[in-house]
Structure formats: structure tokens, C-alpha cells
């Protein structure tokens, strides 16, 4: 079992310049510099793992595996049209897929109430309203086919572009846009109040 990112066909359209390239080069020369990339992406990888696995403990485990695998594979990272961010999320995606397989769990777990860590000074009424909206969105997401759900989570929880999601999932950017369009059409119907 490996979390090494698999090679995908190069996307038809090149991703825009990689903003992390300087930090990646520094980390390839001196591994201590990886700390900068770690701090930059920890919460985003954690968020992705959490929304995928629905459990803080499992999300921590997947996040840890992702960063250890990324550190080990970093010397092999090449700037060939992909970005570090897409490369890292491909590792996270494979790690989460492995977690689903090895633990033989449901692909989508119901989220516990109050899964977020609210701010100490948060308004209770606002928290309840937000929790309701989150629950409704997560319930709607449960009904989506796996590939559409993946696209929605990567697009909205992690802010990846369609081209980057294509790199993560091994699809063309055009195919990702079509999946996003279909997912939003379905969700618009379900979330219509």
C-alpha cells in the first residue's frame, strides 16, 4: 500500500504558475524548509481529510500520513505543469482512499453534532443556524455520486481550481467542470428552501 501519487495524463491546459515553487525548491535543498510548506497546508489537508472521513481522529491520521509521504517523495517532485498544491492533494486523496479501504468503513459518515470547534465568543444563535445549514449541506452531499462529491469538496472546502482538481482525480479540467455543473444542478434542487 502506498500513498505515492500516481502519474496522470498531462492536463490539456497548463496550470498557472506554482506559487509554492520557491518554497519547494528550498525544501528539496534543505529538508528543514519543509516546515514552511507544512504550516501553509496543514489546515487545508486536515479540512479535506475531515470532510472526507467525518472524524477528527481519522482526519489526523490521514493528515499525518499525507505529510510524511509528501516529505519522503519531495525530492521526486518536478515542476512539470502541476502545482505543489495539486501534488499534495493527490497524496491526500490516495491516503484518504486507503483509509476508506483498510478500515472497511462507509465512504461517508454522518457528522457528529458540533463537529466544528466554535470560537469561545461565538454567538449561540448564529452557531445553531450555521450548524443547521452545515447539516443540510452535508446531507445533500451524501446523495451525490462519489466523483461529483469529490469535486465539490475539493472546490469549496479547499479552494482548488478545476485544473488542479483534474490533477488530483486524474481527469481533464473540462471533465471536472462538467462534474461540477451537474453537482451544483443537483444540489440547487436539494438545497432549495
Amino acid at each position: 500500500m502506498t500513498s505515492e501519487p500516481r502519474r496522470v495524463e498531462p492536463a490539456a491546459e497548463r496550470l498557472p504558475g506554482d506559487p509554492d515553487l520557491a518554497a519547494v525548491r528550498a525544501a528539496q535543498a534543505d529538508r528543514a524548509e519543509f516546515a514552511r510548506l507544512y504550516r501553509r497546508y496543514l489546515d487545508r489537508v486536515y479540512t479535506y481529510a475531515f470532510y472526507q472521513l467525518g472524524d477528527h481522529h481519522d482526519a489526523e491520521d490521514a493528515t499525518e500520513r499525507t505529510f510524511l509521504a509528501a516529505l519522503a517523495a519531495l525530492p521526486g517532485f518536478r515542476d512539470e505543469g502541476s502545482t505543489f498544491r495539486a501534488w499534495l492533494f493527490r497524496i491526500a486523496h490516495n491516503t484518504v482512499a486507503n483509509a476508506h479501504r483498510t478500515r472497511a468503513r462507509r465512504r461517508w459518515q454522518p457528522f457528529p453534532d458540533g463537529f466544528e470547534r466554535p470560537a469561545p465568543d461565538a454567538d449561540p444563535a448564529g452557531l445553531v443556524a450555521r450548524a443547521d445549514e452545515v447539516r443540510e449541506v452535508l446531507r445533500a452531499l451524501e446523495t451525490l455520486p462519489e466523483d461529483r462529491r469529490q469535486v465539490v469538496l475539493l472546490r469549496f472546502s479547499d479552494g482548488l481550481s478545476s485544473a488542479e482538481i483534474g490533477e488530483v482525480l486524474g481527469r481533464s479540467p473540462g471533465a471536472v467542470r462538467v462534474l461540477l455543473h451537474r453537482a451544483l444542478r443537483e444540489l440547487a434542487t436539494r438545497l432549495d428552501r
Binding site: 516546515a35 479540512t47 493528515t63 470547534r117 472546502s157
Partner: protein
């Protein structure tokens, strides 16, 4: 002039939405963009715990040290499986050190007694 497809126009509008702008879009795509706005609000980042962050940072640093140690150990193991190479390297080093020391001694000696070096 190329006409962009509906998924492309929607994708561009989502880009603007995620960048905090208010995208202009045709009426039939508006409900989809409203769903996108709801998703963007609901699927907010979930920060990792501070203790977990510190522990993983430590493990990553330990991983760096372990890898360096493993590299030295692997080199040593590899070299020990070839005793001939070790002997040759040892002999070559001895000759190199001997030649360097002799050359230095000759040079020092010529500087202390320049007349001898000139053959007087």
C-alpha cells in the same frame, strides 16, 4: 470567436465567488451559483488542533534526522559488502597521505636551508 460552454461559464463564476466577488451570470445559472454560495459558507476550513500540529511537526523533523541516519547506514552497509574496494581505498589513502607528508617535509626543508637547496 469561440463560445464558452455552460460548465465553463459556471466555473468562472464560481472562481469569482470564491475570490469574494459578486459574479454576473445569466438567470438560468443563478440557482446553481446560490447553491455554490451555500456550499462555500458551509464547507469552511476545519483547523487542526494545536497539539496535533506540534506533534506532527516534531515527527516530520524526526523523519528528517532518521532519513539522514539511514543514508549513512546504507552507505556503510553497501561499502562493507565490497571488502576489495575498502582495501583499495585504504591503500590509496595511505599513499596519498605519505606523498603529501613527504612533499611538505621537502618543501619546509628547502625553506629553512635555501643554500642547501641551491647545492652549496
Amino acid at each position: 470567436m469561440t463560445t464558452r460552454s455552460t460548465p465553463e461559464r459556471l466555473d468562472e463564476a464560481v472562481d469569482s465567488l470564491l475570490a469574494g466577488e459578486r459574479p454576473l451570470i445569466e438567470p438560468q445559472l443563478r440557482p446553481l451559483l446560490e447553491a455554490a454560495a451555500t456550499l462555500s459558507r458551509a464547507l469552511r476550513p476545519v483547523p487542526a488542533g494545536a497539539r496535533f500540529e506540534a506533534q506532527l511537526a516534531e515527527r516530520l523533523a524526526a523523519g528528517r534526522v532518521r532519513r539522514a541516519t539511514e543514508g549513512i547506514a546504507a552507505f556503510t552497509r553497501r561499502e562493507l559488502t565490497r571488502p576489495g574496494r575498502l582495501l583499495a581505498a585504504g591503500a590509496f589513502s595511505s599513499v596519498a597521505v605519505g606523498a603529501t607528508v613527504t612533499a611538505y617535509a621537502v618543501w619546509r626543508s628547502s625553506r629553512r636551508h635555501p643554500h642547501r637547496a641551491l647545492g652549496r
